[in-house]
Amino acid sequence: MSEIENKTEHGSMDGATACAAGDPKNDTGLGLGVIFFIVAFLICFLSGWLLFPKLLYSKHEQPFNFDHVLHVEEAGSCDACHFLREDGTFSGIPKMVSCLECHTDEPMGDTPDELIFAREYVAKEREVPWFVYAKQPDCVFFSHAAHINAAGMDCKTCHGPIGETRTSRPYEENRLTGYSRDIWGKNIWGIKKNSWDRMKMNDCAKCHEQETGHKGYCFQCHK
């Protein structure tokens, strides 16, 4: 980082020297130029780090808070609700039918979220319009069966400890791409600490190369 900074500063000094060489008497602008430089640098640097991520993503609150911990306790495991269907396709976020295996239009607990669920969705026979953090774009085909059944992976490897959350974080959508923030990762540099931090094509390819010896052909993951 500092190297770039140095280079840039040198660049500006070079420019100044060149200028001064042309007009040796008039060198007072340099100091102000440096201040301007520093101010502009700081503003842009800080906006790039702090403001830009805020502007880049729009935040959507989930329709109501969902307590994964509670549900895992009650239902047992992830695949109690997020299961593979008999034909091998993945059910994804459960539909109301699945919820109603336990729930009724009477709230089961006394949280406000329970009330919203029962009143707004169960009673009105509407599906809950959840935002899907791990949503991939339409051109992607992803086989849960291949990863769970064939490769024996657990949910956490890609989805992280979502089963251990008590509250639903807001869904963040990239204003340019329309993708979920989880695809690029929370970290604005896209730096990855955990296997689930980023879910871009290269991440898939990397794991595929390690596990199967080949990145895979286009059609393996694209439709």
């Binding site: 034909d87 396709t89 052909y217």
Partner: protein, 284 residues
């Protein structure tokens, strides 16, 4: 678990004596793969039909005239020597199309394609189509679109994928069933299952148990006269289109009629006589 290590080579053989030219395959394909349509589809150069049925005649005057219909999906060429250098794959500057060595299927990734149309120029079979316009469905009709195939957008090329999504679905089923191999019937293209005359046979050309292999009897050795040609049929009634080019298509055609088989290539005078009794007719 499915043995990914065993390479499949999916292909089909179309019995031109059974084909009635009815167009069920074309419509089934369009309906399966979210192919759009527009007000005027009579300019066939820009009419997107992954599976197109050509009407061919023997060129003789009445009453000796004869017609044959030739359905033409993407030929899923293996390229010279069957090494995967399909004519279209080797020219794509965007890597929007590649050759799946595990299936022998040539892919097309719409989001990756930037519409240079080199592949269309290089394809000897006119199997690729360019989206000159955004697809527009009449109000409400987009509700019948299938989630298994991404709808395309203007400015990209599309073509037959051998219904790869059906292969994906068959694999998913195989994973949950814990079976090692995808049964022949579990992966069939939309054109094959739609054909009312059962003229299309689809399967793994590498699998001797599959019907397509039994009909085609592909020769594993290169043609001694034309070493770029691999997988020639050992059935004298079976041929491929422009086989001498060495594109090694995975779509084979079958006919009892000699004049039909002769239509598989543009033979110069006298050439056909020399090769007509050699199976596959690709020599020279």
């Amino acid at each position: 678990m499915i043995q990914d290590k065993i390479a499949h080579k999916f292909g089909m053989v179309i019995d031109l004596d059974k084909c009635t030219g009815c167009g069920s395959c074309t419509v089934s394909c369009m309906s399966e793969n979210n192919v759009p349509f527009k007000e005027d589809e009579s300019d066939k150069k820009d009419s997107i039909t992954w599976m197109r049925v050509y009407r061919l005649t023997n060129g003789k005057p009445f009453p000796d005239a004869q017609i044959v219909y030739l359905p033409r999906p993407c030929q899923h060429c293996g390229g010279t020597g069957d090494h995967g250098h399909s004519p279209c794959v080797s020219v794509c500057p965007a890597t929007a199309t590649d050759y799946g060595y595990d299936t022998g299927i040539v892919s097309q990734i719409y989001t990756r394609c930037f519409g240079c149309r080199y592949c269309m120029v290089s394809c000897p079979y006119h199997a690729r189509y360019f989206n000159w316009w955004d697809p527009v469905w009449p109000e409400g009709m987009e509700k019948y679109l299938s989630p298994n195939v991404s709808p395309r957008m203007r400015g990209v090329v599309e073509k037959c994928s051998f219904c790869y999504h059906r292969y994906q679905l068959a694999r998913e089923k195989a994973y949950v069933d814990g079976v090692d191999e995808i049964a022949e019937a579990a992966y069939q293209t939309a054109c094959t299952t739609a054909c009312p005359a059962a003229a299309i046979t689809f399967g793994d050309l590498n699998n001797p148990a599959h019907k397509v292999h039994q009909i085609v009897k592909p020769d594993p050795h290169p043609d001694p006269m034309n070493p770029g040609v691999v997988g020639k049929s050992r059935n004298p009634k079976v041929f491929r289109l422009l086989e001498r080019l060495g594109t090694n298509p995975k779509v084979y055609y079958m006919s009892e009629r000699e004049w039909v088989r002769k239509l598989g290539d543009s033979y110069l005078e006298g050439e056909w006589e020399k090769v007509k009794n050699i199976y596959g007719s690709a020599s020279q």
